[in-house]
Amino acid sequence: MIINLIVHFCLLILMPPLLLGIINKVKALFAGRRGPPLLQAYFDIGKLLRKGMVISRSTTWVFMAGPVVTLAAVFCAGTLIPLGRFAAPISFTGDLVLFAYLFGLARFFTTSAALDTGSAFEGMGAAREVTFAVLSEPALFLVFFVFVRLSGSLSLGEMLHLAPAGYVSGAVAPLVLVAIGLFIIMLAETCRIPVDDPNTHLELTMIHEVMVLDHSGPLLGIALYAAAMKLFVLSSLLLHVLQPFKSGLAWLDWLIFAGGMMVIAGTIGVVESVMARLRMNHVPHLLVAAIILCGAAFVLLVR
């Protein structure tokens, strides 16, 4: 039990940058390049943490609080979600609402820090971020409704740990829809192609990257790390839908979990390689599609 908790925190803290490395490696392979080392994101964050900071005189404490509160909120969300087939460190009835709004808190502080700079670019990025969140948040709740309906529980730990038996009894179709919807939500929330391009240098087209344009050194490192951890937490949520089986051996289940996470990262890499990003005014269409998919899944269950 204690060992599982330790593994949970180790994975939550150490694994997120690896996912970025896998995504970039897959993208490089598709582009015919060798690509950066798998561990490049760790090197980048380490380098940034050792650097100095340039802080604009027009900013206030909100600017500093942005990345820090975001990381704290995402980390707390990471303690509420069960990883693989193991229990979450913290679990109580209704924790799914806290889970969803911890991301809301993170978003509030990221966008506030962006607005605090007074830059036109960052204002546009913040506007885009909250506009798209208006659509991705209800989609996420519809995902939870499906699980609540299936499991009869309001706690993340119990509702995500459905027995594989729960899957065969007429729930396969809703879960397929939920998996697709959740994948879209994850791409949008973590600002991957087709919603945002994490590699672009064009500030007029960015969403997430432009909001941290004025952050430098350790603050930028924290922002990068928080983004990676958000990807990790949302991927682990998706993995619950895709992989419900349990071997019974703790070490094997942890291996299956880690492997599953890498497969998801690889899939994101493939998606990013084979398609261009959407035009900004088409992004809401994609998110509405996610709402419809998850909503349809819920309707299938309550009909």
Partner: protein, 505 residues
Amino acid sequence: MKFTPIANGYSIPLDSVPALGWPDFAACLADGVRRGQRVSAYFGAAGARPDSTKLYAILADDEANQTFAGLTEVEGGSFPSLTGEITQLHLFEREIAEQFGLVPVGHPWLKPVRSVRSWTKRDAWQRKAGEPLVPGGCDFFKVEGDEVHEVAVGPVHAGVIEPGHFRFQCHGEEVYHLEIALGYQHRGIEAALLGGPDRRSLHYMETLAGDTTIGHATSYCQIAEALAKCQKTARAQVIRAIGLELERLANHIGDLGALAGDVGYLPTSSFCGRIRGDYLNLTALLCGNRFGRGLLRPGGVGFDVDEARVAEFRRRLAIFKKETYNAIGLLWENQSVMARFEDTGRISKAIALELGLVGPAARASGLACDARCTQPSGIFRFAQIPMSVQDSGDVFARAFVRWLEIQKSIDFIQEQLAVIPAAMPQPLLGPLAPDSLALSINEGWRGEICHVAITDSNGRLARYKVVDPSFHNWAGLAYALRNQEISDFPLCNKSFNLSYCGHDL
């Protein structure tokens, strides 16, 4: 009275271009543009008297394959603006105002072009001598309203490109108006050429816009040869054309890769970045420099090719051709890429014509103007490359015109290498003809390059005018952004890929 016909790549005595009275001059200009002619150049030169200024206009008729030169002389510190009637003159008039301190009376948006001092004692804006001039330092067009916001980009850009300032008036994500301020790259090339040609002149031309080295060098060499009445060999003309097409290939392929990169489509982006380098290396195979510096010199070419080099060239080109088709073919097959390209930054044919756009941007809007076909010079008088035209005027059309031109350029180079004329001794360039006007128009990869030279009584350059295609097309980019999403600006910008230093000179 009419404008004087002048053949592209030839010179005529100055006294065969009569100075028209202003009403005649304005009427000829307006009449020509109404009949579909383009203003290739409109510039000032020192007048016969201390207080007068000569204004030259070069009109190109793409249907009749003719070019015309017109001249008028204005007294004092102003002349009537024709921009209201002939929109494409707007930047030319601003340039005349800046260089000669002449006020184009009635110009709707009279601002400096490059923020530099005038060549005369006059100043069109009555600025004091000590007042510092900063590019982008003037007022910008402003849209008022509670929900309208302004976004300023540059002059330092996120990508490693040249400096320029962009001012967007936006409503949410939608751009109402974009104004572009340039001049940060001004080096004074036109002024430096006066009194030439000397040993530096060719190098000024080669570095005027670094990515159009061969294009501008070709025009400069043609001007020098026209004024010196020098007959270059057929072999030299073929090598020049191959160099020009290689420059087009490298830049078009680089542009398509960059367009793919801007929409986040990695495979084409990465492959094209590498293949562009391969074509630059082919240029290096000809002359030892990837950008073609030193390949051309007045009277011929700086480097001849032997059979072994031609064989190596053809072997490499065959490989690159296949790779180019593979990498760029991916782009048109990908629906998500096409969704971004289509209907973005649309410019209608009427607007393209009114703004006087040139090059792939004009052909993408359905204008049939390609100097290789409509104003041919050099080897293009004998071996023509079919013109590539699209009609949708959006980013897709500008990208697809490039792709069509890539295919045709590769075929052209392969054909020319197979029948390259025998080597002959190259002529030496003699002294330039005095009191003459020479014109050279070429199709660089970005569009029409127009050079005009006027010599004094000693056969030295008294005025040398360079019109880079970017000078015509920046207004097109600003127009393309109207009512577009601001997030599509980088994509539109890349689809034009205009030169900052070619504009700033």
